[in-house]
Amino acid sequence: MGKVVAVTGNEAVANALRQADPDVCSLYPITPQTDIVQRFSSFVANGQVQTELLNAESEHSAMSAAIGAAAGGGRVITATSSQGLALMWEMLHIASGMNLPIIMPLVNRALSAPLNIHGDHSDGMGARDTGWIQLWSENAQEAYDNTIMSFRIGEHTDIRLPIMVCMDGFIVSHSIARMEYLEDDEVKKFIGPYQKVNPLLDLEHPKSFGPLILTDLYHEYKRLQHEIMGRVKNVVLQVSDEFGKLSGRKYGLFESYRLEDAEIALVILNSAAGTSKDVVDELRDKGIKAGLLKPRLFRPFPYVEVGQALKHLKAVCVMDRADSFGGYGPMFMEISSAMYQADGEGRKPKLINKIYGLGGRDYMPHDARKVLLELNEIAKGAPVGAVKEYIGVRE
């Protein structure tokens, strides 16, 4: 069984990639992700994996090469953050449009300008419409587990899609935490050999990848892409279930924390969920019925399930570590959509949106406490002030 270690998020993810032993890794450095590809390069240099390394001259080329390699017909990884993901943007759509499973840890970081290398979710949120699957992770353990599962999910023959595994830059990527590794052979067996679908390198059956598609067919291809995305949820559940049997760690589409009998709740992604759970416990001790929902599968977004999980609440605050300037926070928009569709017998929770922690700004227990107490008042009938508000900001 597993081995308990104290490692950083980056080290944990790098080890998951080593255990998967991909055929090709294309890479380009960027903080806070660099540490992953550096570690992986050492695995290659030391013969711990059989992978061919491709040191691209930019993230655009790293993703282009990943696409070429994946089309070729083998297991492919890369990793990035922030500006790197932004530079890849054009190619992200091409990877998903060509149905190529590429596994990519995304160590979340703020976007310029102004330049900032610290953790927030602007990069991942900006890529939510690229047709990639997104799994988000609270800590090193989840990042490790999600990375391992991502091979099974992305490469599943029902879907064949690229997948981003997100974790918070520095807060998780560079902090040492206690976690548990699976044994190499367990992971190898769990992931299994790569299954080819229409490989470009099948010389006997030459295929053309990347045709021009005109108005009379493009719409149909996008409909097909929508259909395939629709299959992801079941694959995630199935793979997570199997992983649970192997590791003893349970994963679903999202995590519910003391939500069943709650009256108020936070919806919050990644590392800040951990801080918030402590405050939920603290308020529970004081008799306030607080709870929390932490999304895991953000694309495709499980609207129905999330709606079901939240519909009984009186008030919900959606916490966004990214802003959609001129709009609500990106997660808020999803939760609003989910709640509007949810069958709540005429009753729906009041929703508010807080923007927190941009550019690595600390998110502290008192931030969570303040928001939950505000929710408690709203639940009791206090009017909602501003729907969207920045917190932890110097006024």
């Binding site: 055929d23 061919e52 070429g68 089309a71 470009l200 390198l201």
Partner: protein, 319 residues
């Protein structure tokens, strides 16, 4: 003319044999009548006597050869975007090596990228330079028609001095058209320490010899091939080969190769023809023959002469 005849005859037997091989590029593609690019592709593939995987940058060649269910390619072919034919193919080639190492692929598969001048000299230069520096075992072929043709004849850094394009038009304030000299990409690629060459479909034996040679070299290779475009050059549909020949004979498009850092001119025209012979038949240079533009014509000729002299000198020194 006589050398041409001679060349033809000397290779005729081989050509006859060649005609019996399958051309892995099928008719039914939708490039304009008389376009130079398909002939370039055909010649490159004919000189490639190996299994080959092709990558293609967005551009005329790409949009016209693979539309919906119709592909002209009988080789594995991949197009992803405009600026990254080299990066994409470097990924395919890397996957090939990964699978070869595990005994899952045969030896001696070749990799060729085709990009237009816009996708190569301009937006794709970084991707190309990166792939060449990394030394992937691939041949990058630029089919140079001297502008962004697919989007409607905009100037690129390969557009010749003086050309009228839709974004370097000749007008009353600027009667000269494009004011800058072409980027000398072939020599830039030579500076990567790789095999780099310039070729023309008119001189098909020279072209095919260079392609064959490139395939014998392990690592990155680059060949720049002139590919007349009758739409953008504003010429008749029947003279793509004639113009590519005149480009060589006027020394506008010298044929040479750079190997191990040494430059060698591979075809010296028997008589160097005046630049006019290449420029005058083309509508994109028509304004240069209006009064007031004499200086431009002189500058063009001087530029050609200077480059050619320098190439000859370097070539002699290398011998």
């Amino acid at each position: 003319m006589e050398t041409r005849e001679l060349l033809k005859w000397s290779a005729q037997v081989k050509l006859r044999e060649k005609s019996k091989q399958e051309v892995r590029f099928e008719h039914g593609h939708r490039m304009c009548a008389g376009c130079g690019a398909p002939t370039v592709v055909k010649m490159v593939l004919m000189a490639t006597e190996y299994p080959v995987v092709v990558s293609n940058a967005t551009g005329c060649l790409e949009v016209s050869t693979c539309i919906q269910d119709y592909t002209a390619w009988k080789t594995p072919w991949i197009h992803t975007a405009f600026e990254n034919a080299a990066a994409t193919l470097s990924g395919v080639e890397t996957m090939y090596r990964a699978l070869l190492k595990k005994g899952k692929m045969p030896e001696n598969v070749k990799f060729i990228a085709f990009g237009g001048d816009g996708g190569t000299y301009d937006i794709g230069l970084q991707s190309l330079s990166g792939a060449m520096e990394r030394g992937h075992d691939m041949l990058y072929v630029c089919y140079d028609n001297g502008a962004y043709m697919n989007t409607g004849i905009q100037r690129s850094s390969a557009t010749p001095l003086g050309a009228d394009t839709t974004t370097s038009p000749a007008g009353s304030a600027n009667p000269a058209g494009k004011l800058q000299v072409r980027k000398d990409l072939t020599r830039i690629m030579g500076a990567h320490g790789i095999y780099a060459a310039q070729a023309s479909p008119s001189h098909w034996l020279d072209l095919m010899t260079k392609v064959k040679k490139a395939h014998q070299i392990k690592g990155a290779k680059f060949i720049n091939i002139i590919a007349p475009c009758n739409r953008g050059w504003r010429t008749a549909t029947d003279n793509s080969i004639e113009l590519s020949r005149l480009a060589v004979e006027t020394c506008y498009w010298p044929l040479y190769e750079i190997e191990d850092g040494k430059l060698k001119v591979t075809v010296v025209p028997e008589e160097k023809k005046p630049a006019d012979m290449f420029f005058k038949p083309q509508g994109r240079f028509k304004h240069l023959y209006s009064p007031g533009n004499e200086g431009m014509l002189q500058r063009i000729q001087a530029e050609i002469d200077r480059t050619w002299e320098r190439l000859l000198k370097e070539s002699e020194q290398a011998c």
